[in-house]
């Protein structure tokens, strides 16, 4: 088995490694983790600050996989499957600890049609901008931040995000559009505030 990994010219695809894992090869576990542990830890940190809880959930997840390795399915994308499992188990773990999770979609957020860029350009101090940008992100719901993370950092399609988050595709695009809209909305307020001081 080892030779197969080491002498292979091209790195084995995720699905190839997954297959070997299912067939009982233990080395494949460390390959899966070397590829996906960091992204999973990063994704998990969107739900809790407790890094060790995320690690525990990842460990339990793979223990579960080991227990039923010969009965595992063949996911289209191993990474997306891992993300989905991590998300479900982590939310369950957090709920069992009695933590409040704001995972409910906010339906009542207005969608602004104006152009966010117009307002952004007006602020020309770059230091100010970075501070304000972080403040705006703190106003987003954790679900919106999660959605942005999957879309732009993990480079996933709306379809894939919908599967991981267990919502429909339309909800994903609503969440994304609103994440931009909420920014626009607040940029307006900030700009008004800013102008009233310079007068």
């Amino acid at each position: 088995m080892n030779e197969m990994f080491e002498n292979h010219q091209e790195p084995i695809s995720d699905n190839g490694v997954w297959d070997m894992f299912k067939k009982g090869d233990d080395k494949s576990l460390s390959i899966l983790l070397s590829r996906h542990f960091r992204p999973m830890l990063h994704y998990g940190s969107k739900f809790t600050k407790d890094r060790f809880l995320v690690e525990d959930v990842i460990q339990d997840l793979f223990l579960e996989f080991l227990e039923k390795r010969d009965r595992l399915g063949d996911p289209v994308s191993v990474k997306n499957y891992l993300f989905k499992c991590l998300r479900n188990n982590l939310i369950r773990a957090l709920k069992s600890r009695g933590e409040e999770l704001d995972l409910v979609e906010d339906q009542d957020l207005a969608v602004e049609s104006e152009n966010m860029e117009m307002f952004l350009i007006a602020l020309d101090d770059s230091a100010e901008l970075s501070v304000k940008m972080s403040n705006y992100f703190s106003l987003l719901t954790s679900r919106q931040r999660e959605c942005l993370f999957l879309r732009y950092y993990q480079d996933l399609s709306n379809d894939e995000i919908a599967q991981i988050m267990g919502i429909n595709k339309q909800s994903v695009s609503n969440l994304l559009v609103r994440s931009i809209a909420i920014l626009k909305e607040n940029w307006v307020h900030i700009l008004i505030y800013f102008l009233s001081f310079t007068d």
Partner: protein, 373 residues
């Protein structure tokens, strides 16, 4: 090729190549983004907005070494093997089951045999086994084995307390009155040793020896695991590799493979490679009694003051560049978090990072001109 000069921040955010550049996914970008930014002020501005937007999405990444992941993976396999065989039996074929049962039966018979062997030998008061070669003749050895599923407390004659984890064994002279306090460990235990500078306390396990005067620490050393871990709660601990199976005659002359640990530090010893890796314990606690968790509420406090306080409180050296963080200050409440979580929060706010190198913490914060105050 796109015409980037017409791009707005939203277009940059939607551009996969731009994102890969911002997140540093590729070593080298095919597109010279800095050149594009320098071409026009307004495009540069759009790019900066897009970059900040994306950076906020990324948020913090937790630094993890390849070795850490490797060990994480090994731990999962180890735990998998430890799970009760009854779960696994269902998925095994009959001949695998029968061979397994054979080994289990053999193990039970052998342990009875060994028990009888020990019993008869201790009756004769002359113990001589390979693993406990420091046992002087005419001395009676006592073993405590924890076969339960919860930790057990063992109090030695000198008052030292040992919390023995499940499937672990300690062996020591029943009288416990020698010039040295010797204990042999197999498995995992937490030691709270009563201070006595005249009688050093030594723990032998795996291929290692821990030597202390009075302190508290944890040792995890299961024979089937690939290495041993020593975590220090209070005081100082010396860990050394045994060159011979028996401990060296002169304990004060520690070999060059000895390593010194202080509170909140831990060391992992990989048996096959024979090397020590010193790091910081994941569950830390304040060792300086003059400092309490409530002292970690900061209001416009200079960063250098905060780092010095953390250094003093946890006894872990924190290395930072005074010049780099000159003028940086922080308003935050960091009470009731472990040391590494406190550092995570600080570095996240300051857009910096830290590394744990050989039991010390190295801070990297570029400057705080652009961060939140």
């Amino acid at each position: 090729m796109n015409n980037y000069n017409d791009f707005k921040s939203g277009d940059f955010i939607a551009d996969p190549a731009f994102r890969a550049w911002v997140y540093g996914f590729k070593q080298q970008s095919d597109i010279d983004w800095e050149y594009i930014a320098s071409q026009s002020h307004s495009v540069g501005k759009e790019m900066e907005i897009a970059r900040l937007f994306l950076k906020n999405i990324e948020d913090k990444t937790i630094p993890v070494s390849d070795l850490y992941i490797e060990r994480f993976s090994e731990r999962i396999l180890e735990n998998h093997r430890k799970l009760s065989p009854s779960i696994k039996l269902s998925s095994r074929r009959w001949y695998e089951v029968s061979s397994r049962l054979f080994y289990m039966a053999a193990a039970i018979i052998m342990s009875f045999g060994i028990g009888w062997f020990y019993y008869t030998y201790s009756q004769k008061q002359s113990v001589n086994t390979d693993s406990i070669s420091w046992a002087a003749p005419e001395q009676k050895l006592t073993s405590r084995v924890n076969r339960t599923k919860s930790p057990e407390l063992v109090v030695l004659k000198d008052g030292s307390k040992i919390t023995l984890q499940p499937n672990s064994t300690i062996t020591y002279h029943e009288a416990f009155d020698g010039a040295e306090r010797n204990v042999q460990l197999e498995g995992e235990a937490f030691f709270d040793v009563v201070k006595n500078p005249d009688r050093p306390f030594l723990v032998y396990f795996n291929d290692l020896t821990v030597r202390v005067l009075g302190t508290s620490f944890n040792i995890r050393s299961y024979g089937k695991e690939e290495g041993s871990r020593v975590t220090v709660k209070t005081g100082k601990v010396s860990v050394s590799a045994n060159r011979e199976t028996s401990p060296p005659q002169n304990h004060t002359d520690l070999s060059s493979s000895a390593i010194m640990l202080t509170a909140n530090q831990e060391v992992f010893y990989k048996k096959a490679q024979g090397y020590f890796e010193r790091s910081v314990a994941s569950r830390t606690q304040i060792v300086d009694k003059t400092i309490s968790e409530n002292d970690f509420v900061f209001n416009e406090t200079p960063l250098s003051t905060i780092f010095s306080k953390l250094d003093k409180a946890y006894g872990i050296p924190i290395i930072f560049d005074e010049q780099q963080i000159y003028g940086c200050s922080l308003t935050a409440s960091l009470a009731d978090e472990p040391l590494l979580e406190k550092l995570n929060l600080i570095c996240r706010t300051m857009n910096g990072s830290y590394e744990v190198i050989d039991g010390q913490i190295v801070i990297n914060i570029k400057s705080c001109r652009n961060s939140l105050q």
